[in-house]
Symmetry: C2
Subunit: 405 residues, 2 copies
């Protein structure tokens, strides 16, 4: 008998029919002899409706009140799922984040979990109930309601799975798993049966939209196996597990793409210690997340530093760079929001030196110019013109033998 | 500087525009130098929408989950009102029933308040904030979320006003106060400037729809002055206060009507001790609220017992009477759902013996037959044919000099 945490996202509980389907699936899992803890998001677009209402009543959104407002969505979902379970003959009880013992810091709208005290969840399981827990929310050390930010319901599910020592955390969504590339771009993309935590981290970081980086990191830290699968077809999806040394590793598992970023180049910078530190400290102080960073070898004691940021942060990041320009003695700041990034990810890459060459050859043969390169031990990313990204993904997917038969 | 609890019902926070109007009114109250605690209901028909969703996911509604579901409505209202206050330059913080320290018993969907521990509300007031509290909800001694049943938001407001020793509890609604009769029936009905708690109890009990009996009782017990007024016109409404012995009392303050009840007569009952007790114990066990009870003087050792119940309880009540019929030796059980009740209420009635006579004469002169009579020291109620109720209200309103000039 296993303990399974099942997380259902917004589309999975989007209407009454979907909620009934979720309840029936939980009932089937119970009937198979397993214990289940359910974690739910708000229904479909309900959170967006609440945000619209907030805009209508006030030009500002005090974070404490925004959290109070938004957490109503999961409260509705969890009560409805619990009722639907009752209708399937499964005894259950719903719990808010606070009742489930999810203690966070006081950073409203993006709180971090400080401690898990899921005593009531354990009691409910011991009493034979299926606990239904509101995702995305917790209670702060100041006893205020907090939310965990984007992807917060996955974080709740993984954190609960870790605290309860669950055998698996199942992430139900509207796709059937993690794919070798975005199926909207590559029609021959294949569902991956199994990927390692490290690979999933790179996939999430470079454009895979199924899981957020944060929940994958949490799962890896606590060794919680994840199973990403569909709440529409209920078929087995993708397992995300610890690397298995006995297993032969695919050289490349996935090709990912991301066109949500823009590039900034700070040019003609003196190649002295402390310059990069000043620049990126300033960006960090503005709350701007920097992704890829590339600095070329210095020529005549001068260098260029290029980096990517989310397009939504471009204006603020450019302004910040202009302000430190004089201080760091840079010649100019240029920006470009017409770029995209293509990455290949694979745990087997480490021991296969030919991978980099094949990637560059493939792009070159197809007339695609590479503007920036960055690598990790299991990933290679290239920045390209935005309008060449889809072609690049398709050619790489074929070149690395990922196309479905 | 006074402390004012301001309660806003569902129509008062029905949409973003109404919520902004509420915030502006609270800001005006604060600008006048008073401290304010706001208590809110769910927006307009939001609770009905949630109940429809519950029906769609499950044929049953487990009470614990129903409470969890419904309390989402006030959570949304309170966060939005707090945001709107911020937009008006008023610092505020919202609190759930649990955070406001409203401790209830475990009777889900109709919980009773056991204790008020509004420490966080006091702290917020001391910090110069306007606390915005979710009405209708509390937390049980088992740490579960409960709701207080119909009229629960008024109960929250009055209980908070009592615990905080507020100077007044203002109940904002979509009418401008308590009227001398239902304005839809009597066009010349007048708004009452002031009524006593006792009068308001009788008005609420006999068909006045503005306040529920329960909150009036609570206000009387704790001597919390109530002020019922409109959130659309913001004009002064009706004060409900302790009887003022120096004040000359109106003989009759209001004429009320109620056609929501039906009559049951248990006929040919032996006039022996314990018979009525058996009958009404049985009805109480079925959870049926009995309102007017009339038993005639016995004739030949036999009597008839008539009483009224809500029309929605008629079938269950009739069945229960049929079951005890043999045991109590009754001859027959008859029911009639085509009745209505007209009442006159007035604190000055006590010292005016002519009131009863004038009521009966007025009805008789207009050809209206009286089927049952019951009285208290400040109320006389008559059961009539349902189709004569409106005419009776109008004639009595004129006869007792209540028509507006």
């Amino acid at each position: 008998m296993a303990l399974i945490v099942q997380k259902f996202g917004g589309t999975s509980v989007g209407d009454a029919e979907r909620i009934r389907a979720v309840a029936e699936h939980v009932a089937r899992t119970r009937a198979a002899g397993d214990d289940v803890v359910v974690v739910v998001s708000a229904m479909g677009k309900f959170t967006d409706d609440l945000l619209r209402l907030a805009d209508d009543v006030s030009p500002t959104r005090p974070p404490r009140e925004l959290d109070m407002l938004l957490t109503a969505g999961e409260r509705i979902s969890m009560a409805l799922v619990s009722m639907a379970l009752g209708a399937c003959g499964v005894e259950s009880a719903s719990f808010t984040g606070s009742q489930a013992g999810i203690i966070t810091n006081t950073e409203h709208t993006r709180a971090k979990i400080l401690e898990m005290r899921p005593d009531r969840i354990r009691e409910a399981l011991a009493a034979g109930l299926v606990p239904v827990v509101a995702g995305f929310q917790g209670v702060s050390t100041e006893r205020d309601i907090t939310t965990l930010g984007r992807g917060g319901t996955d974080v709740t599910a993984v954190a609960l799975a870790a605290a309860l020592k669950a055998d698996v955390c199942e992430i139900y969504t509207d796709v059937t798993g993690v794919f070798s590339a975005d199926p909207r771009v590559v029609t021959k993309a294949r569902r991956l049966a199994k990927v390692s935590f490290d690979e999933m981290l790179e996939i999430a970081a470079t454009g895979g939209r199924v899981l957020m980086l944060r929940s994958v990191e949490l799962a890896r830290r606590h060794s919680v196996p994840l199973h990403v699968r569909s709440s529409f077809t209920w078929e087995p999806g993708t397992w995300i597990v610890e690397e298995d040394p006995t297993m032969e590793e695919a050289v490349v598992s996935a090709v990912t793409d991301d066109t949500s970023e823009a590039k900034i180049t700070v040019g003609g910078v003196p190649d002295r210690p402390g310059i990069a530190a000043k620049l990126f400290r300033r960006l960090a102080d503005e709350g701007i997340n920097v992704d890829m960073i590339v600095q070329n070898t210095s020529l005549n004691g001068m260098t260029d530093i290029s980096f990517t940021v989310a397009k939504t942060d471009l204006a603020a990041a450019t302004a910040a760079c202009e302000e430190v320009k004089v201080e760091i003695g840079a010649a100019q700041v240029t920006s470009d929001d017409d770029i995209g990034r293509v990455s290949i990810v694979g745990a087997g890459m480490k021991s296969n030196p030919g991978v980099t060459a094949l990637m560059f050859e493939t792009l070159s043969e197809n007339g695609i110019n590479i503007e920036m390169i960055s690598t990790s031990s299991i990933r290679i990313s290239c920045v390209l013109r935005a309008d060449r990204v889809e072609a690049a993904v398709r050619h790489l997917h074929t070149a690395f033998g990922l196309d479905a038969a």
